[in-house]
């Protein structure tokens, strides 16, 4: 019985041949992300910027100009109106009125009153969020801390399970993924809020998952093919795991796609970012995590560790020898 395959059997892509090009591309992506964040900036959500967000459902198709006029009459600052989903759904965003949190409460009531006055009683407030300036800066601080802690713990784990070269490689690739994801938020203008931090951490988790599996294969092959050039060995490892890399990316992307399409407006930014993360994580496994090992003097370390154990065999049949048949 033959099943369709995402990747043909016995592939032999010379991934390492493109490592310089990929490295340059990755550096460009990182620089571009930094540039985008610096120039275009990130569309901070209310969680991190503070302020008021209202989700409003109007009886007829929303008249944004009328709504803006009603809002301006309340003296609100930094008014942003945005249509989403149905033409009757509008997201109203207003900057935090002042340092005094209690004034924001008054303002929410005033805004609701003004909108109801202009658009009639049938207007519906589906969601109202207010984040005070103190809380928003704490949330941002916590988000950054969470990312750093996760990165540190995972790097430590990989170091513990593998060798330092792997953990350094994993860390470099994940930093790349984070940079590329933040750049993605900047270029798409998707709002960066608490759930975006969750998306970033999930991407970190997914991406490392991918790297650990490829690293596991590299480590195994290092023991099996002692005379093979590192470049060839990395290529071999990547090709051997290519089927699983693509398959997992496909099923994860499939599930995420279901969320993007059917999961509703609230989750869209979150899921789109994770979909991007699957792509960037898969890329960085192949073109960053593996090739950087070449520069870390991996072979000598591995040989030192394994010195004296079953010396100098390099046989393609090595596997069946290494593992006695049942």
């Amino acid at each position: 019985m033959r099943h369709p395959r995402l990747v043909p059997d016995n592939t032999n892509f010379p991934f390492m041949r493109f490592r310089m090009a990929a490295l340059v591309a990755s550096i460009i992506v990182i620089l571009a992300s930094i540039g985008l964040v610096a120039i275009k900036g990130i569309n901070w959500g209310v969680d991190f910027e503070g302020g008021i967000v209202l989700e409003v459902k109007t009886p007829q198709a929303a008249d944004l100009a009328a709504m803006r006029a009603a809002l301006e009459s309340t003296g609100a600052n930094g008014i942003r109106l945005q249509q989403f989903g149905d033409p009757t759904d509008v997201l109203v965003r207003i900057a935090a009125p002042s340092e005094v949190a209690s004034e924001a409460q008054v303002q929410i009531d005033r805004i609701k009153g003004a909108l109801t006055g202009r658009l009639g009683q049938d207007i519906q407030f589906d969601r109202a969020d207010f984040v005070g300036p103190q809380v928003s800066s704490e949330l941002l601080h916590d988000g950054i801390l969470a990312t750093v802690v996760a990165l540190a713990l995972i790097t430590a784990y990989v170091w513990f399970r593998f060798e330092w070269q792997y953990s350094l490689g994993a860390m470099i690739s994940v930093v790349h993924d984070i940079a590329a994801t933040v750049g993605f938020f900047a270029i798409t203008g998707i709002e960066f809020d608490l759930s975006s931090v969750a998306a970033v951490l999930t991407i970190v988790g997914y991406s490392l998952n991918d790297k650990v599996i490829v690293y596991d294969r590299i480590r195994e092959n290092l023991r099996l093919y002692k005379a093979m050039s590192l470049e060839e060995l990395l290529n071999r490892s990547l090709n051997e795991t290519l089927g699983r890399t693509m398959m997992t990316a496909a099923t994860t992307a499939l599930a995420l796609l279901a969320l993007v399409i059917f999961g509703g407006e609230v989750l869209r930014g979150f899921t789109v970012a994770m979909l991007w993360g699957v792509f960037i994580g898969t890329y960085s496994t192949t073109f960053i995590a593996a090739p950087v090992l070449i520069y870390f003097n991996l072979r000598s370390a591995a040989q030192k560790a394994k010195a004296g154990e079953g010396a100098g065999k390099d046989k393609t049949k090595g596997k069946s020898l290494a593992h006695p048949a049942q």
Partner: protein
């Protein structure tokens, strides 16, 4: 090659337990309560983003707590110095200190000695040790400084937060909303979650008042622009028929903590609040009303005079009535506030999120559809890709979903919209472990192994990668759980539970199923 019996039992037990744990979610709550105690009753609660409701983070005004204490201390300092006949030219507040300037520097020692008596020990905290006092009293020239030390401030703030928590709970209970969550967060914050309450305006109005009630005699002869010493000026409630400003005796004759009950009622067709006093309060009230018949008695709430009725006759029964320009609602609200007691310090809302029930219902629907589509898509994809082995993986996936839901029920955790996303994501990634194993089995076959040996080697060799991959994932999820709040925590919970169940189902369940299939059919090759 056969399944050890314990493993088969383990898998079946997990499935049965899983289903038993999920069932309470499907039974209406009332029926569930009627069942005997040994029946598991933990169920998944829906987050506020799914069932609609309000989330509020309130901050206790710690500056007000400190200010309050300093005000009391400066009053005590004043009366102590006066009693000891030590002259002073001024007593003022400076940061965290009360500073008294003496007229005669020679009396410094006497003043220091005298003021020691107002230095209390810091209230019962184990951390500061017994006998730690709350003031650092120092003298310099003709100035005495009484500094409220940090331990005292911490203890005061902490007890103010505890007290506020209690008052907030009583006030919200009075509203009769279902299952509110009220908990302390951090050093000086209180988290309030009220499901089903779409418009938190009610709650905010209720929590926005300190509700400090006191009764003062009105000084009828004084001029508001120049109140005599011992008096102070307070405004009337805006819009009420009485005067704009009242001159009152600074000393409160009676305070809100003497109240035992308050109820809204009617008097002469007007909404009023009747109250009852405890025995000490009753005695004081009787005394005051007896001594001051014919004078005006002001009822003050949060530094505003509600009303100042004339005392017609002594009131000895320990009960009275607060009139003012009340509506039925505002009388009821005041009664609620008085019953629940005063907040030790004002509360401010520093974060608020409310979701309408309609949006919540939309989110549930969207989440359910997305989950369904994701499951179907992944299941079909796996079947096309791996055929029979895809079916095995799908079986494991179904067990996995059962176990995730069981885990959520067991922990009684809150399912949020991002939490649903976490489940969907887990569905997508859970098959990864099976993919790893299957790809490995294929490889082993390519290297010329027989079916049994390939299956065995496939599982054994993929194991390490499966564990390492899942542990890194678990680390990221747990960090997210630790740092996340609200909906994000819900995401981290489902993701963490998902990783754990995946390790079990993808490895153990699939293995048991594959070995069973192999024993039954004895295939010559593996259809992978």
């Amino acid at each position: 090659m056969r399944n050890p019996t314990w493993k088969v039992i383990l898998v079946w037990a997990a499935v049965v337990f899983g289903i038993v744990l999920i069932v309470p979610n499907l039974i209406p709550e009332k029926t569930l309560d009627a069942l005997p105690g040994w029946v598991p009753k933990q169920r998944i609660t829906l987050g506020l983003d799914l069932q609609g409701g309000s989330y509020m983070l309130l901050q206790v005004d710690t500056a007000a707590v400190v200010k309050d204490r300093l005000d009391t201390l400066s009053n005590e300092t004043r009366s102590q110095l006066r009693e000891a006949r030590i002259g002073y030219s001024g007593i003022g507040l400076q940061g965290q200190s009360v500073v008294a300037t003496l007229t005669d520097a020679g009396q410094l020692q006497a003043a220091l000695e005298r003021l020691k008596s107002i230095n209390q020990t810091v209230g019962g905290s184990a951390f500061v040790g017994v006998g730690t006092t709350e003031l650092d009293i120092t003298g310099d020239g003709n100035r005495v400084t009484l500094k409220l030390n940090d331990a005292a401030v911490t203890a005061r703030v902490s007890s103010a937060v505890t007290q506020s928590l209690e008052v907030v709970r009583r006030r919200i209970d009075e509203l009769g909303t279902r299952e509110p969550t009220i908990q302390r967060q951090g050093a000086d914050r209180i988290l309030v979650q009220v499901p089903g309450e779409k418009d938190p305006a009610n709650i905010k109005r209720l929590l926005g008042q300190t509700a400090r009630l006191s009764f003062h005699m009105v000084d009828m002869n004084a001029d508001p622009s120049q109140p005599p010493p011992g008096d102070f000026v307070l405004p009337g409630v805006p819009g009420s028929p009485g005067p704009q400003q009242y001159v009152l005796n600074r000393r409160a004759e009676l305070q809100g903590d003497n109240l035992t009950d308050a109820q809204p009622t009617f008097q002469n067709n007007e909404a009023v609040v009747s109250f009852r006093l405890d025995s000490i309060g009753s005695r004081k009230f009787a005394q005051v009303t007896q001594d001051n018949v014919g004078k005006f008695f002001a009822i003050v709430l949060d530094d505003k005079v509600i009303s100042a009725p004339r005392i017609r006759e002594p009131i000895t029964g320990g009960a009275g009535v607060i009139s003012g320009s009340f509506t039925v609602e505002s009388a009821n609200e005041l009664a609620v506030l008085l019953r629940a007691g005063a907040l030790p310090a004002p509360l401010t809302v520093v974060e608020e999120r409310s979701v309408g029930a309609e949006l919540g219902a939309d989110s549930i629907r969207a989440g359910a559809i997305a989950s369904g589509v994701a499951v179907v898509a992944v299941v079909i994809f796996m079947m096309i890709y791996y055929g029979l082995f895809g079916v095995f993986a799908n079986l494991a996936l179904v067990v996995n979903i059962i176990l995730i839901l069981a885990g959520l029920s067991l922990l009684g955790s809150t399912l949020t919209l991002p939490g649903i996303a976490g489940i969907v994501l887990t569905i997508g990634m859970a098959v990864d472990s099976n993919v790893l194993i299957f790809e490995r089995i294929r490889e082993e076959m390519k290297h010329g192994r027989g079916p049994v040996s390939s299956i065995q080697a496939g599982f054994d060799k993929a194991m390490r990668a499966v564990i390492d991959a899942n542990v890194t994932h678990l680390i990221a999820s747990l960090v997210l759980f630790e740092f996340g709040t609200g909906p994000i925590k819900g995401f981290a919970i489902t993701l963490s539970i998902g990783v754990l169940t995946t390790m079990f189902t993808a490895v153990t369940v699939t293995r048991v199923v594959i070995l069973y299939w192999h024993r039954r059919t004895r295939p010559a090759t593996i259809p992978l």
